[in-house]
């Protein structure tokens, strides 16, 4: 089946829904396609808040937010993006409120704000209340509110359509091919502009806060075209996932006064970040936790977790402002934060890297600023490099609002200026080949088994601490898994709702993401932000103050070609010189 829209949005999480809204406001026809139902997207799992210098609780300025973002990113953040972000997010939060988002409130009726990791006043002097929140289900409320606004705007939704290919010819994107899960049919979407906003790929790790559906599909499709993925070595582990399960426990828990303790009951963060302690940025807290565990001060049956302690807080705060995670801890661990210590461990959470874009969301084809005409990206899928080497808590929700909006605006403007570019004669050819291969392969291998081995090996070899030998081993493991993947066959012959086929395709995408992440990490011989190498423990600005661009070698598909892109070290009005990062 064939469809035609001026602007097509892939993904219906926060970035996609914001992009779709703004594209529609630009007066063009818009459709949004998602492999889920829109309200199932993982933006809904974000808990703690959205950071904006509203100053409702304490004095705050966008410059301080910009500084925290740049320093939090270990100076790999592009400062032009950080400046736009820190300014725009203030307006954007008010806009969400005007869309009806039910924020928690202060006594004076303004939006409530609380502390979060790495958010400071006065360029690092002390923690500041910057996170605007709706209890501890801020992402859920953003997702619902944006979906509601799209219902109001009459956006065309194509639910449970799984994008299998991007049509890019002569440097311009012309549309996408998608597999309709309900019917098993292929659909071609012809568009003047396409916005990619389909989220991250946390499912390449065994312990993750990410949904089962976050398998890096569009990143992989982009990469398979010989186009680069940026900064894939920077993968964030959130310090507090529920032990064994990896389910997110918001940083808001520490923002409200929660304290991390080891098996001796010691508040260990005092040793690692004396100024802001438990509210240090995520990379630092995650490493501190793993260090405690490695040195034998872990808790739990396998001594592989630490405790978060809320027991000194009033019950109203715990059950009111932290209701969601209170419920999660009670349900899954049988631990009640009101009276029990809750066992947590770092969990794979967020990709700082992804499809490179400029500050308007336009996708980049190399490190020199060449763009892919008509193709935009936003949200976790994209790397405008707001987050650099480590993302501050609350900046993901901010990112998808600010840059989702920009992608929507600029894609609509572009679509108004151009005619439809011609589609190739047989746009579905590659997808048909892929599906045929999966349906007809020997079936000697099971995709679930390969996925499990990928997740375990990535966790062991490209996790919070990395080193050369382990990552070289991982390169070989991925090669072997890719070879085995060619033997994966789909046994369910059903045409309708063939979720086995969908999962098999997703595994192919995950293998690509893992390959690019591992190659990028092996190549970067320094420690910066979330990329911490045991064999190169220092940050090395002389050699590595640059973004990695990883390309699939189309001539030799097991090889990854590494290129670079300079970091923008200046904003429009502000610039922060790289300095040692201490808290």
């Amino acid at each position: 089946m064939h469809h035609r829209y001026d602007v097509l949005v892939v993904g219906a999480g926060g970035a996609g829904l914001m992009a779709a809204l703004y594209a529609a406001k630009g007066g063009v026809s818009v459709a949004c396609i998602s492999k889920l139902y829109p309200t199932r997207s993982h933006t809904g799992a974000a808990q703690g808040g959205i950071g904006a210098a509203l100053g409702n609780v304490a004095e705050d300025h966008w410059e301080w937010h910009m500084f925290d973002t740049v320093k939090g990113g270990d100076y790999l953040t592009d400062q032009d993006a950080a400046e736009i972000f820190a300014k725009d997010i203030i307006e954007a939060v008010y806009e969400l409120e005007h869309m009806g988002l039910p924020f928690s409130r202060l006594d004076n009726g303004k939006i409530a704000q609380r502390k979060f990791g790495g958010h400071t006043r006065d360029f690092g002097k002390a923690a500041v209340e910057r996170s605007c929140y709706a209890k501890d289900r801020t992402g859920h409320m953003i997702l619902q509110t944006l979906y509601q606004q799209n219902v109001k705007a009459g956006t065309n939704f194509y639910n449970e359509f799984h994008v299998t290919d991007l049509i890019i010819e002569e440097g311009r994107c012309r549309g996408v091919v998608a597999y309709h899960l309900a019917s098993g049919e292929l659909h071609t979407f012809h568009a003047k502009a396409v916005i990619l906003a389909a989220g991250g790929y946390g499912r390449i790790y065994k312990i993750t806060s990410n949904a089962l559906t976050l398998t890096g599909d569009l990143m992989s499709i982009y990469y398979r075209k010989g186009l680069p993925l940026e900064d894939m070595e920077f993968y964030q582990f959130h310090p507090t996932g529920l032990a064994k399960l990896g389910i997110l426990v918001t940083e808001g828990i520490r923002g409200e006064g929660g304290i991390l303790r080891n098996s001796d009951g010691e508040r260990f963060m005092e040793r690692y970040a004396p100024t802001i302690k438990d509210l240090a940025p995520r990379d630092i807290v995650s490493r501190s936790i793993i260090t405690e565990i490695r040195e034998g001060r872990g808790v739990g049956r396998d001594r592989d977790a630490v405790h978060i302690d809320l027991t000194h807080l009033p019950r109203e705060v715990i059950e009111g402002k932290l209701a969601e995670i209170t419920d999660l801890a009670r349900t899954y661990l049988g631990q009640d934060p009101v009276k029990d210590l809750v066992a947590v461990q770092p969990t794979a959470h967020y990709a700082m890297g992804g499809i490179p874009t400029d500050i308007n969301g336009l996708c980049l084809a190399d490190g020199n600023g060449t763009s892919v005409e008509g193709l935009y990206a936003a949200g976790e899928q994209a790397c405008v490099s707001l987050h650099g080497a480590n993302r501050l808590g609350t900046n993901s929700l901010g990112d998808l609002i600010v840059f989702g909006r920009r992608a929507g605006i600029f894609a609509a403007q572009y679509a108004q200026q151009v005619e439809y570019a011609e589609m190739p004669e047989d746009p579905e050819r590659e997808t048909v080949e892929t599906l045929d291969r999966l349906k007809n392969a020997s079936g000697k291998e099971n995709s679930a088994m390969i996925r499990k081995e990928l997740q375990e090996s990535m966790m062991n070899n490209v996790g919070i601490f990395r080193n050369g030998p382990d990552m070289e081993k991982q390169v070989e493991i991925i090669k072997e898994l890719k070879a085995r993947y060619t033997q994966v066959g789909v046994s369910d012959p059903s045409v309708r709702y063939n979720s086995e086929l969908l999962e098999a395709m997703e595994l192919g995408f995950m293998l690509d993401c893992a390959e690019a992440a591992t190659a990028s990490a092996l190549n970067r011989k320094e420690s910066r932000g979330a990329h911490d190498r045991e064999d190169f423990t220092e940050r090395d600005d002389a050699n590595w103050l640059k973004h990695t661009m990883a390309y699939k070698d189309l001539g030799n598909p097991d090889n990854v070609i590494i290129g670079y892109k300079p970091v923008s070290l200046k904003g429009y009005t502000r610039a922060f010189e790289p300095k040692p990062r201490v808290y």
Binding site: L36, Y37, T39, R40, S41, H42, G44, A45, L54, Y94, E97, H98, G100, P102, F103, S104, R105, L106, D107, N108, G109, K110, I111, A112, K135, R137, H140, M141, Q144, T145, Q148, Q149, V151, K152, A182, A211, L212, T213, K244, L245, I247, L248, R301, D302, E324, D327, T331, Y332, N446, A448, M449, V490, S491, D492, S494, V495, R496, Y497, S499, E500
Partner: protein, 251 residues
């Protein structure tokens, strides 16, 4: 076939449970009607029902079909009937629903067309959602900052805005089963979310929708919805609040 399939994600040193999972299967491409299939599984008491379903799908019968995504009760994908009660598979732990040697039954939610196995057609459910004008309406020009709202008035929306649209409530409602035109509990909860938002200006229009014969008066206070809600929303109470608001508007 082994006596029991091995555990999906076993942690060491934890005692295993041996259970049978009885799943209502239906593939319209080959089945005339639904039938039960039973899978013996070895699992841990703290495993979720979803872990067991995933295990069966990944390692035993890949054709088993159901929706799932976040695995921790926030996306709303995996509402299904577990031991005769609507629940989210990802928020239901084995130790709470089955004993060693016991049988767990899993069926699709009722009142929506079954497309395949546990996966149902959600369109009628979302049609009802869209019918209540589920979006904030305030046509006055917004201020430079936020519209002010007291914490107490903000709290008025805390329960209704907790809804994840999983459909567990609506598909547990006997009225919805027999009368497909009833908007159902979830849509009324969504209406409540806006009716009691001090900033919203379309209360009157929404109450009119609630007052139609597809609206709140169909509710017979059976409390099935409240019992089914995985987010502990007191749905029946919220429906009663909407009924009262409709009556006050008329008087």
């Amino acid at each position: 076939m082994p006596e029991y399939y091995p555990p999906s994600n076993a942690a060491p040193n934890v005692p295993m449970m041996h259970i049978k999972v009885k799943i209502l299967r239906f593939n319209p491409e080959k089945d005339k009607k639904a039938h039960w299939e039973t899978y013996p599984v070895e699992a841990q008491p703290a495993d979720r029902v979803l872990d067991v379903l995933n295990y069966v799908k990944w390692f035993v019968d890949p054709s088993l079909t159901f929706r799932r995504s976040c695995m921790h009760g926030i996306c709303g994908s995996d509402a299904m009937m577990i031991n005769g009660r609507n629940q989210l598979a990802c928020k239901t732990l084995l130790r709470d629903v089955v004993k060693e040697g016991g049988t767990l039954t899993v069926e699709p939610i009722r009142g929506l067309k079954v497309e395949k196995d546990l996966l149902t057609d959600m369109e009628p459910f979302f049609d009802a959602y869209r019918a209540i004008m589920p979006y904030f309406i305030n046509e006055s020009p917004p201020p430079a900052g936020e519209r002010l709202q007291s914490p107490e008035l903000a709290e008025r929306m805390a329960q209704s805005s907790n809804c994840i649209l999983c459909a567990a409530c609506t598909t547990s409602c006997p009225i919805f089963w027999v009368n497909g035109s009833y908007l159902g509990p979830a849509a009324i909860v969504q209406a409540h979310r806006f009716i009691f938002d001090s900033r919203d200006q379309a209360t009157h229009q929404r109450l009119n929708i609630m007052n139609q014969n597809t609206g709140v008066w169909r509710c017979r206070t059976a409390y099935n919805c409240t019992e089914a809600c995985p987010r502990d929303i007191p749905i029946t109470q919220l429906i009663e609040e909407v009924k009262r608001a409709v009556m006050y508007q008329q008087s």
